[in-house]
Symmetry: C2
Subunit: 454 residues, 2 copies
């Protein structure tokens, strides 16, 4: 029974004091965001109506490391460092010679990795004198994390929640309200962007972003906060990979492959970027594997080009793999992965061949999640269930090849608020929506003209 430690735990002294910034090291030519009005490169001034200067500086910085402010570190101590597990029981269940490790972010108050950036964003906004933050949320992980962070820094919080998740996860709404936030079902009738999308009652992240940006832009005391995609969000999440690096050293191993799910990309980047830096500098040889839903296959089926971050076209255009900013994915339970694009930094790494992407159907990810829950105990959120599916493929490939590969993946959140989806899966009633070629070409045909990318 004793194959060595199950958990690799750090002390508070080991919480990273700096974030890792990969922006200056991304291969290929820089592709700056473009102003939605002029289609010219957007500068900090384009962002000041909705972001505080502290975050804009982080967004555009090419410093390799950025110091974490003391009040943010203080907030991190409420749940960090998070544990790294060795999945001995899953390895036995799979009969694989692979060593499987997972970094578990579900121990945070809201149950996912999202507070890592929420507290950093709430702090910078409070420091800049904002009174209120407005945001969107898909599965509710981000909205509840921002509600929690706002309660720590004395800010009001207003959340537009994607309709399909609002209906599937009523308790995520209660959680936000318990931390003092107000929550609207999106598309709402409170904004122009929402009123224009009443024909899509399930909503999408793109629509909810438009609503939140519109509110933030229209009020002087209100800023906007985004839970993924942007450079500064990916930056904040790198505490995950830095801790995992220390913990893998404690375990005496180096990962051969790093696996994460990708929606907007911040969970993946948070775990992978510290390892990616070693890779880019020639200090390690690691594979990187991004898992996404077949129902919203941005990295595997999207087009690499400039597109808006939101459905209404209010945000700057970013160079990314996109399905088209008005593409509305089927309402899969992995609400955090229902985004039409991906973080530009992550896309550049995929384009450079440094990250491999795979897409999975909803049912096969839940099959993997139940297998994980019954061996490791933790019930995963539907988003990291995609990563677990990829882990099982890798572990089985290692068994076939007779190789002792070391696999590290991000278990970015628990599934305590997703049990209705598990219910449906166990009853054999979970839908398994597939992506349609027609929808893709229609959405791409509606894309705005923007500078071509070589």
């Amino acid at each position: 029974m004793s194959e060595g430690p199950v958990k690799f735990l750090l002390s508070e002294r080991d919480i990273p004091t700096r974030w890792i910034n990969l922006l200056g090291e991304i291969p290929g030519q820089p592709l700056p965001p473009l102003s939605p009005r002029t289609l010219e490169p957007a500068g900090p001034a384009d962002l000041t109506p909705i972001f505080p200067m502290g975050l804009i500086e982080q967004e555009v910085s090419s410093q390799p490391e950025i110091e974490i402010p003391a009040p943010v570190l203080e907030a991190y101590r409420l749940w960090r460092p998070t544990p790294l597990y060795r999945a001995h029981r899953l390895e036995r269940e799979l009969g694989t010679p692979a060593h499987i490790y997972y970094k578990y972010e579900g121990v945070s108050p809201s149950g996912s990795h999202k507070p890592n950036t929420a507290v950093a964003q709430a702090y910078e906004n409070a420091r800049a004198g904002a009174k209120r933050l407005c945001t969107e949320t898909g599965a509710g992980q981000w909205g509840s994390s921002l509600a929690f962070a706002c309660s720590l820094f004395g800010l009001e919080c207003e959340v537009f929640m994607v309709g399909s998740s609002y209906d599937q996860k009523p308790y995520r709404r209660s959680m936000m309200q318990t931390w003092g936030a107000s929550v609207h079902r999106s598309p709402s009738t409170l904004t122009e962007s929402g009123r224009a999308q009443q024909a899509h009652p399930t909503g999408s992240l793109g629509i909810a972003i438009s609503e939140a940006v519109e509110v933030a832009a229209s009020r002087d005391d209100t800023n906007y906060a985004l839970g993924s995609v942007l450079n500064h969000v990916l930056l904040h999440q790198t505490v995950i990979g830095q801790e995992a690096t220390l913990q893998m050293q404690l375990a005496g191993e180096q990962p051969d492959v790093v696996i994460g799910c990708v929606g907007g990309g911040s969970n993946f980047a948070g775990l992978a970027f510290p390892f990616m830096r070693a890779q880019l500098r020639g200090e390690a040889q690691t594979r990187f594997l991004a898992a996404e839903p077949s129902a919203c296959p941005t990295l595997t089926r999207g087009e690499f080009r400039y597109d808006y971050g939101d459905t209404g076209g209010l945000t700057p255009l970013m160079a990314m793999y996109t399905l088209g900013h008005d593409f509305v994915p089927p309402p899969v339970h992995a609400g955090g992965l229902r985004y039409h694009g991906d973080a530009p930094m992550l896309c550049a790494l995929v384009r450079a061949g440094l990250i491999e992407a795979r897409a999975y159907r909803q049912n096969e990810t839940f099959e993997a999640a139940v297998r994980f829950a019954r061996s490791e105990g933790i019930i995963p959120a539907p988003e990291p269930a995609h990563a677990i599916r990829a882990v099982i493929e890798e572990a089985e490939a290692a068994r076939e090849a007779g190789e002792q590969r070391v696999i590290l993946f991000g278990l970015c959140g628990h599934g305590n608020f997703d049990l209705a989806a598990y219910d449906a899966y166990l009853a054999g009633e979970l839908e398994d929506p597939e992506f349609s070629e027609q929808e893709l070409s229609d959405a791409l045909a509606r894309l705005p003209e923007a500078p071509a990318i070589a």
Copy 2:
């Protein structure tokens, strides 16, 4: 911002390897359980139809320490050691000179302290060749923990869930099913005990216990498992207090008062007994404070006498504070505290004046819980909200007295499955049921004759 550490973390090497057994040190004369048929002292033979011998031996042992079997320790490593927090933010919010610490058991897979005994019980039953465990659950914390434990040790699991909780917390049922258990709403029509109680559709722990015991007694391959009250259950929970003892040493402090909520008593005992041993041996001077609901005030309003553990009168009679075994408490959200009696070991300590008990109304516990969530981040289950209410009283008393008291309390679970109750509280719609004198005297009048207690 830096008042010292927020968390005191241990490594896997610090997980206790022995349970602390207080049975031989309880003050007063021993009051053995009585057979429900003969009203004579019950021996191990009375328990063999529903419990494996390994647990019966633990139940009656007076050894001061009992070694934890290696496979149980192996399972503990999936979530233990759990963190001890210093509540700096709550202290600031209360403006108190008190130092407030909490031991957080919500990091376990099912989100509470219950797996500490669930894995120990599943292991002993699997070792004895049982094929299936049958149990009751109130709030669902115990049932989901046993479902989890059974999935680790290859046992089937069948759960009778108290009706009011079944309706309030559908996702607890889904969680049990995800770990492979089958779940029935109690009172059910599957058992004689359930059919006799159809007039009480909200159910109670006492009724659900009768149903589970009836099923276990009628099937050779099925044993019964209880989540609290019994000596061996309290024993298993002492890993909590042993870790907390080490962690308080790391913090360089001794608790002046130890606080926990009490339903059946295992959470309270788990934290308190290791400190109580030091107290009984004259090595410490600590106050102990038990918090219970006004709606089910066993320790503060019950009668100390022999009574059945279940509503149907199938279990041995135990000497305890009881409201009468057929008392059905109002459906407060702290389902884990809706039990008519209390652990005999705990009751003996209350009777000896070593533990003080206080009862709280539902709304004042939720007020305390929301205050805690908005300062410390973690949303507590309704059960430990009772402890938090008592902590706030103690911290405010310390402020009035100008004393720097050290308070340690058990945060035995998170409230992720209790958000409907938070919804009702925040909307001002939470009921605040009080206990009625008439109900108490009626229930006590229906009690069976049993030997008087001096």
